[in-house]
Amino acid sequence: MAVMSYAEAAKQAIAEAMRADPRVWCVGEDLGRGGVFKQYVGLVEEFGPARVSDAPISEAAIMGAAFGAALVGTRPIVEMRFADFALCATDELVNQIAKARYMFGGQSRAPMVIRKPMGMWRSSAAQHSQSLEAWYAHIPGLVVVCPSTPQDNYAMMKAAIACDDPVVYLEHKNIWALEGEVDPDAPGAFGQARIRRQGGDVTIVSWSDCANRAAAAAAMLAEDGIDAEVIDLISLWPWDKAAVLGSVARTGRLLVAHEAVAVGGFGAEVVATVAERAAHRLKVPPRRIGSPRGLIAYAPNLEDQMRVTAEAIAAAARQMMEPAPA
């Protein structure tokens, strides 16, 4: 098993897929120089500029043209640079790509991977920091992936490229350099969560980089004698309801943690699902922890107020372990 970074893991998955299938290609701004986060470095040298294609600053055309190219039989990997800029291509993604197969009665497929680097990255301010995964989970036709580790970024990227559905692939831009072991033979599976830590006291559900913070929180909690189970959903649609419901049945406590705004975030879906299906299993009310419904500032002390930290996750879990006030 090789050790590699989160960025390298995805790149390796892409390179392998491109070697195996000439229909796979990448398109986005600055890819010929490795992309804005260097996550494509070296690919243009191996595959040439037609398959690792630069693009004009035209997010709508990048998305729309890649879709057209998918309709005629290619398998594009679309680079949106920042998830925020992908909003310039919302019609293309939501009205066209997600709906085409259905509207055309199954005549077409849109096998595309749409990479949208998301999340907070020191002092990037309100237009370069958003986490909008909940939006895409709400859109029928889309698969939504939020990997948190090199292993998952490798395996899920491979799965996403192999998938015939459009996959919104949200990498967290704060962890490009995060290193970890990657087993190339462990396949990625949509809708199958990773149990990052087993525990019997409280179930912490998370995804994307926040899952790493949840794992750190669990380590802190262990020092306090609290045995947290950490479930990293990896994909939000489909999502592993069975893993969450099973865990909650054992722990009786559910805490969902994500970086996105809590109001209308995907945490609401997780909590609502558990409340609907397993309310009687809950020993204490379920809880969400996410960003306040505010905007992300440039100044670090203001920005930090929007963060969901390991400490905050641990604190919330601790509260849930306290005996109810008499």
């Binding site: 037609a50 004009p56 055309a61 729309g64 043209a65 057209g68 005629v72 009205n95 698969v143």
Partner: protein
């Protein structure tokens, strides 16, 4: 290969009876074009009747009555394998590309056997089997998609070309610029056709369009572009022959701006009372492409009866299509959740 009205030769023009016709008009070709226009018109007339008189068409339909020369003249030069994207006003393009009018009519009625299984309706009509990659409910969105289809062909080493039809109103949305720039940058084999019917819904498009020439917008992005009379099917066909020939030869994108006229309302239920009084009648009189083609052929010696027979045949074909559609059942209930997605399909996980 069929009768000609005059000896073949280089295109020459001569005034006959006050009208200009091409000396080398091939009458069979002229009749073929007439027949295609009649078929498009008959299809839409049948659909409109089904909508208005029988309430069988539940969603909005947008008719291309008066615009048939554009679809007919351009698509005459396409092969079945070539690709095409269209708009909300796409029946004509789809028929001309070779789709089955029965499947199309079933689609308009939302029935089983519709080309999209009844899921799309008029505005999302598509027939991938004939390279018709879809109408579109979002104005201008098909422009980048078409550029991408051409891009995909180039990547795959195919030799199909792509034609992208869009309206005059679509030229004011961003995808017009982004899609044409894309085709220029990547040197793609695509023909952009602005089918300018002078209206965008209830708006005179010229009032909301800056500058005098949409072709200039394309020229500014390096494309060869021409303005053509979109009511003259032969002029359209001639321009298309040139452009498409060059595109096949060079792989480079081109642009045609075909000026025509929307004879009816925006949708079948729009009385279009916002048009200047008399405009519609005058335009139907002077610009109708079917009328013009009939006159041209009549001048060339074709009997009215022969042309009437073509019309009758078109009407009978589309009446039969409507009958078939009317008789078709609703799509199977289970299809509601099919073909959304494989992973996380609502067939397994609706919630």
């Amino acid at each position: 290969m069929g009768r000609t009205a005059a000896p073949p030769g280089a295109a020459e023009e001569a005034g006959i009876g006050g009208r200009v016709i091409r000396r080398n008009l091939d009458i069979d070709t002229g009749l073929d074009r007439l027949a295609m226009m009649e078929r498009i018109r008959a299809f839409e007339a049948a659909a409109e009747r089904a909508a208005v008189d029988e309430g069988l068409v539940l969603g909005a339909i947008h008719l291309s009555t008066g615009q048939e020369a554009v679809a007919t003249g351009i698509i005459a030069h396409l092969d079945r394998a070539d690709y095409m994207t269209s708009t909300h006003r796409g029946h004509g393009h789809t028929i001309a590309k070779g789709a089955d009018p029965v499947a199309m009519m079933k689609e308009l009625l939302g029935r089983e056997g519709g080309c999209c299984g009844g899921k799309g309706g008029s505005m999302h009509i598509a027939d991938f089997g004939v390279g018709m990659l879809g109408a579109n409910g979002v104005v201008s969105a098909n422009i980048t998609i078409a550029a991408g289809a051409a891009h995909g062909v180039k990547l795959l080493g195919g030799d199909q070309i792509t034609v992208c039809f869009f309206g005059d109103g679509a030229a004011n949305r961003g995808p017009f610029l982004e899609g044409i720039n894309w085709a220029g940058v990547f040197d793609l084999p695509i023909l952009f056709v602005c089918e300018d019917n002078r209206y965008s819904a209830s708006t005179r498009t010229a009032d909301m369009t800056a500058g005098d020439s949409l072709a200039d917008r394309a020229r500014a992005m390096g494309l060869t572009a021409a303005e053509i009379d979109g009511n003259d099917v032969n002029a359209v066909a001639e321009a298309a022959a040139g452009a498409i020939g060059r595109i096949r030869a060079t792989g480079r994108p081109e642009f045609l701006h075909a000026v025509t006229y929307r004879q009816g309302g925006h949708t079948y239920f729009d009385p279009a009372a916002y048009r200047p009084p008399g405009e519609a009648a005058r335009m139907a009189e002077t610009t109708d492409p079917i009328r013009r083609q009939r006159e041209l052929l009549a001048d060339a010696g074709v009997a009215a009866a022969q042309m009437d027979a073509i019309r009758a045949e078109a009407r009978a074909e589309m009446e039969a299509a409507l009958d078939a559609a009317r008789a078709a059942p609703w799509p199977p209930a289970a299809s509601a959740f099919a073909d959304v997605q494989d992973i996380g399909s609502p067939q397994r996980e609706p919630f």
